[in-house]
Point group: C2
Chain length 297, copies 2
């Protein structure tokens, strides 16, 4: 199937009623959106390469869902409401069924997050997916990696380590939508906590999404905030099947880590440590290497 | 050099004073921008793969300039003022000098267009560059492929065919910045006419950027507008070294084609034909196949 026919197949998967802010969807030189008054726009881009970021032979619908949700996770971390996404796809061949399933998975993730895919690009090449995501955040209210203050609690939005545990234990290329185990869901169905945004905007001092592992990502918070972060390993909520090491050094969790001293938040979410003066990252009192995933190490 | 060190090298190339609308640049989970009141946002994404969209062995600075400018061209076509860009880069190795030159070329193109690179992503993989671009357009004033009316003149913003002629005649992998021939400049230094935007907003009925060749791109305008487009081949302004076929079926020109009946525009720009009722695309009275570049043909 050729480029323009494939693009039509993809477009047919992008369903649901168009949001009010969407002035022009796919099909022209670009999409046009109308931002709501009184809002800034958070904007981010992520790439997913076959056999680097996902198993090339895996189910296309699962790949699509995961790539889009992992991209939108950056918006959750900045407490922005997901709005529009653009998807650039490079494919070794024009397999229409594969592309249709990928688009279906992406659209499902977009709908679940309240986002909309408004355009894209298709090219012949090694299998890779790049997603640009944009979201609204009330003017000046974004949450940064900088801002953690000594005395704040360090919280997690949910259990971690599940995706790394799945990578370790499961043949993810054999996963099928509708038949996912809890471990498989950790990897294929990341659920960034978008609904937390209003509360975090008011009461969190810093935030980051956990894409590279707890140590690497919290290392960024410590550096950006100019503080020390002291974690207690026993307090880290582990996903089913995960070991401590999966949580500390594995990636792909897409939970949020945030700092706060707001009791309704610290009561509801796992408090895994405390912010202190000075610098660095410590686990059970010992300095931690940042052992997250890093390209070109 | 590892991922984070490379990102720092890239950031050092992104110079100049930050625009007022940029709330937060690279370094967090995403960038944050503040759209000007009374404006919509045009948004587009493009991918450039080594040895599909550019010669893999070419000078990195030239590659960077061309990829960014070709992406921004979509904004010129929608009469949007370029604002922010995100760049996702996949690279086979962490060659710091190569990446630095690429970023320098991209920053040069962004600066020339009035845009700013506000974030990106870096991954290890086959050489590929994906650029997401966003620009401001006064509310409701975007120019579409749809809108051409019978009786409108079909105009070009500049000569065409130069990039295809360069691909045919020149070893573009040997091009060096600062020593470009006119032909090489056609390919490596696309110059979308951003400054035309205000005049086109008021007086053009449709527009498209010429990325896939005159026939393929004007075919989109004919279809979207539901009109016939009748071209006179002798009126098409050819770039130095280009043949008619380069202009009709070659790509990569990034000039604009637009339709208008505004005399100051038709006097200043080449009129290459006329819009008529009915449908289809005709060259010198004969139906034209759409012969532009197409992936997965």
């Amino acid at each position: 199937m050729d480029e323009f026919a494939l693009i039509e197949r993809i477009g047919a998967q992008l369903g649901g009623e168009a949001p009010q802010w969407l002035v022009l969807g796919p099909g022209d030189d670009g999409a046009v959106v109308r931002p709501p008054a009184g809002h800034d726009i958070a904007s981010s881009i992520d790439s997913f390469l076959a056999d680097v970021h996902f198993p090339a032979g895996a189910d296309a619908e699962l790949i699509g869902y995961r790539c889009l949700m992992a991209s939108l996770s950056d918006l959750a971390a900045m407490v922005a409401a997901p709005a529009w996404a653009l998807v650039a796809l490079s494919l070794p061949d024009g397999n229409a069924d594969w592309v249709t399933a990928l688009a279906r998975g992406m659209d499902e993730a977009a709908a679940a997050a309240g986002a909309r895919i408004v355009g894209g690009n298709l090219a012949a090449g090694p299998l890779a997916i790049t997603v640009s995501v944009q979201g609204w955040v009330p003017t000046g209210a974004m949450l940064l990696r900088a801002g953690a203050k000594p005395g704040d609690a360090i919280c997690l939005s949910g259990p971690v380590g599940g995706a790394a545990a799945a990578l370790r234990q499961v043949d993810l290329a054999a996963s099928r939508p509708g038949q996912l185990s809890a471990l498989e869901r950790s990897y294929w169905r990341p659920q960034p906590p978008f609904s937390l945004a209003p509360e975090l905007r008011s009461h969190a001092s810093s935030g980051i999404d956990l894409s590279d592992g707890l140590l690497a990502d919290l290392g960024h918070v410590a550096a950006a905030s100019g503080v020390g972060l002291h974690l207690e390993s026993a307090a880290i909520p582990l996903a089913e099947g995960a070991r401590l090491d999966d949580a500390l050094s594995g990636g792909d969790d897409y939970a949020l880590a945030f700092t706060t001293r707001h009791p309704p938040l610290t009561a509801r979410f796992a408090v895994i440590g405390e912010v202190a003066a000075g610098g660095g990252l410590f686990v059970d009192g010992k300095p931690a290497d940042e052992q997250g995933f890093r390209h070109f190490r």
